[in-house]
Amino acid sequence: MTDIIRMTAAELAAKLTEGEISSVEATQAHLDRISAVDGAVNAYLHVNDAAVDAARAIDERRAAGEPLPELAGVPLAIKDVLVTTDMPSTSGSKILEGFMSPYDATVVARARAAGLVPLGKTNMDEFAMGSSTEHSAYGPTRNPWDLDRIPGGSGGGSAAAVAAFEAPFALGSDTGGSIRQPAHVTGTVGIKPTYGAVSRYGSIALASSLDQVGPVSRTVLDSALLQDVIAGHDVHDATSIQRDWPSMAAAAREGATGAGLKGLRIGIVKELPDSGFQHGVADSFHQSLAKLEAQGAEIVEISAPHFEYAVAAYYLILPAEASSNLAKFDSVRFGMRVEVPGGTVEDVMSATRDAGFGPEVKRRIILGTYALSAGYYDAYYGSAQKVRTLIQRDFAAAFAEVDVIATPTAPTTAFKLGEKIDDPLAMYLNDLTTIPANLAGIPGISVPSGLSEDDGLPVGVQFLAPAHEDARLYRVGAALEHLLVDEWGGPLLDRAPALNGGAR
């Protein structure tokens, strides 16, 4: 039998159902792996003490003959942006150190109801602001492919945990690429569902009109299985979509057969020329396209003239909404409080927020406060909302011509820790290709496309589809994955270096 930690969630589910392994075994194997390698990776902020108990409860229910959901007993990692009743929820910030939520995020509640076993909470850039997980108040997460490099962000912890076999899959959140870009740099799969496909209730808000919770995994099918568990309308989130979603798992399984590639029209964006990408990234991208073309897909150049304004619009909308969403961290009801002898509550709030927030969070709050201020609103926030309309129109025009759009997921492979931390503008450009999907609300997937020729690090290809067409992404993503894994002779992560030492 293959090592339990190397099994996919789908494989684990099958073996659990067949009784070949127990949930306690599966869970313990992952806890052992965390103990062995997380000291080096720092993917987890908190490991669930009660994981084995939860696993045992599933095993007992199975032994009692209770019919269980498909994924019951499979372990799951949870990004720390999601609140949980049994583990602290910090969103990577000092200001929330030790915070215990009295309620579970809806996706967590649905995961528990599906019998998934929470392994722990994964590291992230503070309040999901960043593309490298270096902005976590609890130290950076390291990329399992090269421990001197970033795992992407903000969901670097979830991606690294999955890439380092510390969890079969994980929950993430994506505001401008926080699921897809970490997937790209860690050789994993990540999906930002259609805005509203998954409830945001209990996801500590960064930018409400951009945030979307989604799955992170090593295979397209595993993400599909997880999206099937967490998606659907939630009365607590008015923006969650009321509709019956088709099975994403069925779409992924169908895609893996290769059916559907013939005649598939794939758009490539004229305004994202190769010159904007690291050579090895562009190269891997074109090789993937060639593979799909060889199977009968058609590559069509489309134009998205307003993409060049996307990063600017994003860095207005996000800070503006974040400045308001993060106002609740004020020392009154929860979280850190800095005492100011003789000070008023205003002094205490200001001192607490000064001490509790990291530099990137302060930068964005101040920027967002500016963008919303009287006299600036129309020029900044108002204009950014209009750019959003223009980008939606670009997508609408493109999707009239093509079924999906393909881009490299990010401009470069994993950069070195510390390389861009002092250059916010350079850091912001990491999200160039992922941001448009958040602005428009459409779904996007990142699937490993290989290793970059120039540095041997993972590269991902991103597919985008019209809103509500998440299943299309799972179909195309699984088709490409199938072709590439066949060519590689095994999953890309088999080529990742072994993680020796670094016990937690």
């Binding site: 600017a312 509550v345 406060t369 500016y370 209009k386 959003r388 223009l390």
Partner: protein, 99 residues
């Protein structure tokens, strides 16, 4: 040259309730200036005839029935409180007036 000045940054710090040290004000002024220069280009294409999109997926009239649920116990409400009297949150003296 954009309009970001140290005085503006300090004022934004007051609005955002973040006590900024002088060194932070100086650094933020430079950083914001560079960022704002970069993002100000949104107004170039945002003409009057383009409607604003505040919500990416257009929906309306999503309501909740008027039925009681979701309530926390006092213990749950206070479980993370930095200070309380046992059933209310306690804060130090309030300087400003009610809004």
């Amino acid at each position: 040259m954009s309009e970001i000045t140290p005085e503006l940054v300090r004022h934004l710090g007051v609005l955002a309730r973040i006590q900024l040290e002088d060194e932070e004000v100086t650094r933020l002024t430079g950083e914001l200036d560079a960022i704002v220069e970069n993002i100000a280009k949104v107004s170039r294409v945002a003409s009057d005839d383009v409607p604003a999109t505040s919500h990416p997926i257009p929906m309306q009239n999503v309501f909740r029935p008027d039925e009681v649920g979701d309530m926390l116990t006092t213990d749950q409400a206070l479980q993370n409180a930095p200070d309380s009297d046992g059933d209310r949150f306690r804060v130090t003296a309030i300087l400003g007036e009610e809004q």
